[in-house]
Symmetry: C2
Subunit: 350 residues, 2 copies
């Protein structure tokens, strides 16, 4: 049988409470006792039982993150920030991915983690809010929403200023002289996608450029969908001179399609994306993109959550991260000419 704290205490010749104190770095323990307990624990290969500890103490020293997928640069960034910040504060991070709507297991994961497994939760872009946000509130489980403004007031959240991101990118395109600027929208049911659309519209307004519905099409964070949209523009003869994609993956696809149709980026059409993916600087033209500072989102979410856990929440219930625009070749005319070595590899046919 695996050793318990009783075995450790027995072996060290002290009572379990003393052993517990040593194992938890409490003060007021004689040096000799401390030594003996640690030695006994070491010899027995003792590992404390988390469940027992949590049950008694009411603490888990863990925070949970629930998100739809891990195969995404934004998510990876958030998680890196969460892990780093949590670790610094002595917390472990437990991640669960719900893998999309197919399973609809999001609520189950939240419930699973909620009681006794973590001290608080970070929900990244939750889909079926309604189902369990209320429950979390009722249970008084500390939680923070990341990358989504909750409709419920008072809910803690860290969001990227998507409006501002799209605004910056669109403004940049306007300043480069573009007037027919297309936008491939992520998903109409996702709040952040709508905010980007508004940021795009605002920039147009500011420059006195009329909003054209035919220049706004579906992007859906999907290459296939984006392809259809671009093809529709091409066939309709109303191809914009600049395109703001919903993410870099889609932006790459857009560049590929345009290139295949004999158009050059950025000379004929400028293209910008979202995410500042690490691939952005590998290929030519390098991709102009909105950096959402995802690690910062993760870090702030943890800071907010830890405050909620220790019931020190102040005024600040909603943190907004300002994205940055990374201007690169895909939107910059008169780029430093072609490579002196001739044409490099282009983009692939599908």
């Amino acid at each position: 049988m695996r050793p318990t704290i009783v075995d450790v205490a027995k072996r060290a010749g002290v009572c379990t409470v003393t052993a517990s104190r040593v194992l938890n770095n409490h003060p007021n323990v004689r040096e000799e006792s401390r030594r003996k307990v640690l030695k006994a624990a070491e010899e027995l290969g003792y590992i404390p039982h988390s469940a027992a500890r949590s049950l008694r103490s009411g603490k888990t020293t863990a925070i949970g993150v629930v998100l739809p997928t891990l195969d995404d640069p934004f998510m990876a960034g958030v998680l890196a920030g969460v892990e780093e910040e949590a670790w610094q504060h002595g917390y472990f991070t437990i991640i669960s991915q719900t893998r999309g709507a197919a399973y609809a297991n999001e609520a189950e994961y939240v419930r699973f983690l909620t009681r006794g497994r973590v001290d608080g939760l970070i929900l990244v872009t939750p889909r079926h809010e309604e189902e369990y946000i209320l429950e979390l509130e009722r249970q008084r489980v500390p939680f923070v929403l990341a990358d989504k403004n909750s409709s419920r007031p008072g809910v803690l959240s860290v969001t990227v200023d998507n409006f501002h991101g799209a605004y910056l990118a669109t403004k940049h395109l306007l300043e480069m002289g573009h007037r027919a600027i297309g936008h491939l929208v992520g998903r109409p049911e996702i709040e952040s996608s709508l905010q980007r659309l508004r940021g795009y519209q605002r920039a147009l307004e500011e420059y006195g450029v009329e909003y054209r519905a035919d220049l706004v099409k579906n992007g859906w964070f999907s290459r296939e969908v984006a392809r259809e949209s671009v093809l529709a523009w091409l066939e309709g003869g109303n191809l914009p001179t600049a395109i703001l994609a919903c993410d870099d993956n889609v932006a790459f696809e857009v560049i590929a399609i345009l290139t295949r149709h004999g158009l050059r980026v950025p000379d004929d059409v400028a293209v910008a994306g979202f995410d500042d993916d690490k691939m952005d600087t590998v290929f030519s033209p390098t991709l102009t993109s909105v950096n959402q500072r995802s690690m910062e989102v993760g870090r702030e979410a943890v800071r907010l959550l830890l405050k909620a856990i220790s019931r020190e929440i102040g005024e600040e219930r909603s943190i907004v991260i300002k994205p940055e625009l990374m201007v690169r070749e895909s939107t910059t005319r008169n780029r430093r000419g072609r490579s002196p070595y001739g044409q490099g590899p282009g983009l692939a046919d599908p």
Copy 2:
């Protein structure tokens, strides 16, 4: 205070045992009792306390995955497979990333999860094995190593046949007529990288091509390191006619450097990578790559782990996943000519 099972039982007018039975779908409960308990639980917003449940039952219905990073297509694939398979068997998946050697928190995460949080562990490419594998064995914690053959016999593991993957790729390059084939090695301290090196060597042997030490350089899964290696070849005048990179990220970098130096891929130098990254088919030339079937790795790891948890381990203690070679343009001479629309975007200067 959050409701406990006692509250639920009281409200339903039964004892806690009956409530527990209902909540755990035990048979032998009158339909009326069942109804009453479920109603009470619903009304109170009851969520069972995981820690208490685990402490008593000795089960968690959760499996843990510990891995160094999430920002990697192989890891994302493994995790997708794990989550899918585990969910099908009624298990939750808890993931922890240790974020590299910087923290050296790998062992701490393993210990943290080990007792009372999960029923078993999947360790993906563990770095500091020695530190805790022994401990896990001693504690009789079921665990499976993924993507790494343990030095200890009897340890459960799922590995990609890296030897075979590199062998397939090298053989393909040989069949395309190449004789000076370079290899950028991942990391000499990682077993899988060494296995790939051996697979590469074996293929050369089979084709009677002599192994040249000068054609094997550092890749380190790092763009910077790969760049140095390629530059060394260029300056040394011993550039191979084909290069097998340690992963797709490095392969992209290689293509970028070669292109910048006026060389064309695959016409002057063929390039292949590992991972079958989703970017492989976006850019031209599309990238030939070894698909490691990472999802399958994850699925098999779960199957093995669940057997270990239920103590039904049979003969099969070590599963080997056969990778597949995805042949694409970057290694295929006489590719279907240039795009009829002229040169597409090339690869970027750094």
